[in-house]
Amino acid sequence: MDITVEGITKKYGHQKAVDGISFHVKTGEVLGFLGPNGAGKTTTMKIITCMMAPNKGGVRVGDHSIADEPMEVKSQIGYLPENNPLYLDMPVIDYLAYTAALQGVAKHRIKSRIGEMIRTCGLTAEKHKRIGELSKGYRQRVGLAQAIIHDPRVLILDEPTSGLDPNQIMEIRRLIKELGKEKTVILSTHILPEVEATCDRILIINKGKIVADGTPETLRKQATGRELLRIRIEDGDRDRVFSTLQELESVALVDPMPGMQNYFEVQSHPEHSSRRAIFEACVRHHWVLTEMTPMETKLEDLFRDLTVK
């Protein structure tokens, strides 16, 4: 089921939390929503799930518009809100039965669906406990179980792995990937490795606007327009090495790496490579070049470039 977001704007007072965002998600796509805190990720998700109405623009989930057919939209969506609110005094099983009934799962199927959810989300040992007694990781699983209990075609997950330990994060990611094969998934996070690990496509938003959109590969390529090298030069005077490197024609920026002797970070001008020039400079000055490592620009850098302004 496709999701089409068309120019939505949401204002809180005079501040625009979301400012004319448009995008399209196809069935079977896992879209990672990335952005610093307060960028408008949660607001966008609340609009798609009919929790909030946008001031301008609209959203279509499949053939249904959130403004005209909210019931149809809601029944297609499984939603895990930020902070994972739950009824802490309810036992896990009762809670899942309650959500299943509210989602309109047929009465005779509720029991088997609950069993399935408990198995998929690894809640077997916890199923009779009250949710309030569960640890954060298990609560997160309950939150996920309630989101997928009616087998929705669209999943909206707001920071699904926040507060989990590394093992649990791996598990939840695996589960999301699995679900993403046949469902449309939008997940938000500010943890970068997470998007790289789970998403087919990344959307970076900042101050309510989309600043980047593409697969992790294309975004990384976009960021690695310039070569970045880590080099180690021995037997030379630090300042001389620095100035010599800086004078090379293809080099844009030399940065002595803090705390590491003889190490430098060299950034070339776009479309240029300085490897040969560095080598030749070392030969000329009888320095010993003991290391030269090309460094990949990470998504972190792109993220920082795009969102710190």
């Binding site: 929790m51 909030m52 403004a67 809601k74 029944s75 809100p81 902070n83 609110p85 309650y98 009934a101």
Partner: protein, 241 residues
């Protein structure tokens, strides 16, 4: 209809899970039992086999107990954020509000059913006017429904249960006595108007056995108004303004 019942069932279940229901039932039966049978102008001094004493007591005990039941209903969901879960499910705001209303009303109904032994005892003691007793219960139920809907409204506007409780008592107080006091202080049209706004005149005429459509219209319009107001509060989030 189905969704309303699902919500009502869950809420009723959590009343009994969290002891709220038991405390409320014990306190209600304790208070009204004590004042009906043991203390003051009790039932034996009336020389008449009826439950009028009980109805007068319950008129006040319910007034205080109902806000304590309703204060949680929406305020807690607002506070913990579960309201977001609820409202992103394929249900309407009206179903949420009416489901919770039904749960509260059922709890009061259970409380009133537990006073059935009072009725049976009085029946043993002398000739009871069955019709008047029945309408007495009906009056209590209508009054309860009115305060439940007011309590739900105050619970919907805040995420603080104490605020919801106090606001419900305050608004309730107007209907319970203040309008009557005002009615005594005004004459003519204003006086009649305030007397009509107060719950007591309507309650008394019903519990005396007179079921007038005027009184029914009064109760149902207050209930409807308060419930619709809560629904509007819940759907306000979703307005594009």
């Amino acid at each position: 209809m189905n969704k309303i019942w699902i919500i009502a069932k869950k809420e009723l279940g959590s009343f009994f899970d969290s002891l709220t229901a038991y405390i409320m039932l014990v306190a209600f039966l304790g208070f009204s039992g004590f004042f009906t049978w043991l203390y003051g102008a009790d039932i034996f001094l009336r020389n008449q086999a009826d439950l009028q004493v009980f109805f007068n007591i319950a008129y006040w005990t319910l007034f205080f107990f109902i806000p304590a039941i309703t204060m949680r209903m929406l305020a807690e969901e607002n506070k913990t954020g579960t309201m977001e879960l609820l409202l992103t499910k394929p249900i309407t705001e009206w179903q949420v509000v009416f489901g919770k209303f039904t749960a509260c009303l059922l709890l009061i109904l259970i409380a009133l059913l537990l006073t059935l032994p009072y009725y049976l005892t009085v029946w043993k003691l002398g000739p009871v006017d069955h019709g008047a007793t029945l309408t007495g219960y009906l009056g209590l139920l209508l009054m309860s429904a009115t305060y439940i809907s007011i309590g739900l409204f105050t619970s919907s506007v805040t995420s603080n249960q104490i605020v919801a409780f106090l606001m419900a008592l305050l608004i309730g107080l107007f209907f319970h006595i203040i309008f009557d006091v005002l009615a005594h202080n005004f004459t003519g049209g204003m006086g009649t108007f305030f007397a009509y706004l107060g719950v007591s005149s309507h309650y008394e005429s019903i519990s005396r056995g007179v079921i007038d459509s005027k009184d029914l219209v009064y109760f149902f319009s207050v209930i409807f108004l308060a419930l619709v107001s809560s629904e509007i509060v819940l759907s306000k989030r979703n307005l594009a303004d």
